[in-house]
Amino acid sequence: MSTVEAPPSDLAPRVLSNDPGDHETPHGREEEWRFTPVAKLGDFFDAGQRGSVTAAPSEFVTMIPAEMESSTVEKAAHWVASDLPSALARTHATSVVSVAIPAEREVDDIVVVDLAGSEELNYGRIEISAGAFSKATVVLRLDMTTDVSGIVVTDVADQAALTVLALYDGPRTSRHVWQWATTVGRDASFLGLSIALGGSIIRLQQNVRYAGPGGSAELLGAFLASDEQFQEFRIFVDHNEPHCVSNVVFKGALSGAQAHTVWIGDVHVRREAVGIETYELNRNLLLNDGPRADSVPNLELETGDVVSAGHASATGRFDDEQLFYLQSRGITEELARQLVVRGFFVDVLDKVTDADLRRDVIRRIEERIGMEAIEQQLTEVDA
């Protein structure tokens, strides 16, 4: 396995290789790992007795045996492992969950992929391809009880429109380390939604690059961390083509003294990426005292010839005035809190256009906040 030359940006990974031997074991002092509790992820950094992530085959989903050679999707997406966990998963996963939407196919029903693992720790390889002019919504349900170290390689071909919603809703013991790599084709659009609710540790590296001009990538996230949960979202958008759009919006609600979330938003606009639009936002809502939310937006512009480029980041306390206002209209404190939290996430959840799916996500969020009363009451309004 040859080492590919790293791109010329401080934000891009330094070592690109599928060979685990080419990657250093993270110690926690490295820039990429400095927020992560690496001590709790020791088994993610060595190759032991591991299982592979699987999914039941369906019309668009197949399980294919893993091969050393780069797959068609990996080649199309220019994907090569960029750290030790991704290289281990790439090398040792025995099979690949392949979600393939044929060209020109517009899929009305949501493609639901229920992922499962067999061992305590499982390597996951997922490949998603949306053929040219296709249109589909894929939901990856990551609510397994086991730990996963995985990669999701996605290729959105020219003029395709792909939505991928990943739902991390496993028990409070499970650990997830994922690397996503998406390539957005000419005039294609990609909407990636990360809903992180469960797990003890979730670390998600999400990379986007473009394969032609006119592509649009939206990366949205809603996360809820409580008690001792750790969640880390590292975004890297490589604006390598002209006239593309990227929009990154991550919103988190934190509660409990030990909860810790990290959001790193790296956007690199290359010299050739003229006429692009990029915006990234992270907002965190602290529901009580104690939780820690780290938020680091980072915009690197090599050209001034852009339509717009901006970022924003804010972490704030739960607003008692909002509670008072709602309560003064007869709404109980519990319901008022729920309305405020739901309202906080609304711009992300509104992007889930399928009504059933949106309701499911809202219900899961509300269950996690420990409040359920409102849904029946308001379904009539939504209807």
């Binding site: 008072f324 003064s328 007869g330 739901r342 009451q377």
Partner: protein, 253 residues
């Protein structure tokens, strides 16, 4: 018939710097069908009085009592007070991002009435109430108070009042920030509400302007955290021409 009875009310604001007494012995009775005006200079404690009645957590009552038809209001949580029949139209309504007006109104009405209003009649009810305040229907899809103009916020408060039908409504400077047309529309809304429901109104204002549209039964002058003079509507005329100057020394009390 309902009666809100405020007796010898003392209250402090709690800040990081400590407790500052603001209300210093307020006695006031608001009854169904009647309108009590409370007028006073900036900073005299009018909003504090309104907030204390509604149960804002920043204020603590150090002495005195508030009862609604004999029930101890101070013993109730903020939402219990609203469900008991109290309503506060706020001077500075709060933005609630991501919560639409229609969702908010329906959740409030459900909470106050104890059951969700039937959807069909509810939609008609909201439409009519909005039309009465000359509010555009598109308004219902906006987020609560987010990006509302001053006038829109005040109309929205009165809209809530007419839908929630409280026994006693406290209007804290509902007139401020309104141009003449809006003031007339909002005042008519208040009058209509009171005629229809027979509610009692506590009208807090700094200016006499709104009293041309809403006729108070009693005018109270508020200064230094208490009522310093009480009279009929003619007292408002005196204040109009003389201002609050002659009460200035009382503010120190």
């Amino acid at each position: 018939m309902s009666t809100l009875q405020i007796t010898d009310l003392h209250a402090s604001v709690v800040t990081d710097a400590g407790e500052t007494p603001i209300l210093k012995g307020v006695d006031l009775t608001v009854e169904s069908g009647r309108t009590q005006a409370v007028m006073g200079p900036n900073g005299s404690g009018k909003s504090t009085l309104a907030y204390v009645i509604a149960g804002h957590p920043k204020y603590t009552v150090t002495q005195g009592s508030i009862t609604l038809d004999g029930e101890d209001v101070l013993d109730m949580s903020v939402d219990e007070r609203a469900r008991a029949g109290l309503f506060l139209a706020m001077q500075y309504p709060v933005e609630v991002p991501g919560v639409s007006v229609s969702n908010f109104l329906r959740t409030s009405a459900t909470s106050i009435r104890g059951e969700a209003p039937k959807l069909r009649t509810w939609i008609g009810e909201v439409k009519e109430a909005m039309a009465g305040l000359q509010m555009d229907g598109a308004f219902a899809e906006r987020n609560v108070n987010e990006g509302f103009s001053g006038g829109e916020k005040k109309r929205h408060e009165i809209l809530q009042m007419s839908l929630l039908k409280p026994k006693i409504a406290i209007l804290d400077e509902t007139d401020s920030g309104l141009d003449v047309d809006a003031l007339r529309v909002v005042s008519e809304g208040v009058n209509r509400f009171q005629e229809d429901s027979g509610a009692g109104v506590l009208l807090i204002t700094h200016y006499t302007r709104i009293l041309r549209y809403i006729t108070p039964d009693v005018v109270n002058v508020f200064a230094g955290g208490r009522i310093v003079e009480t009279g009929g509507p003619e007292l408002a005329e005196v204040l109009e021409s003389e201002g609050y100057e002659r009460f200035a020394d009382l503010t120190k009390a």
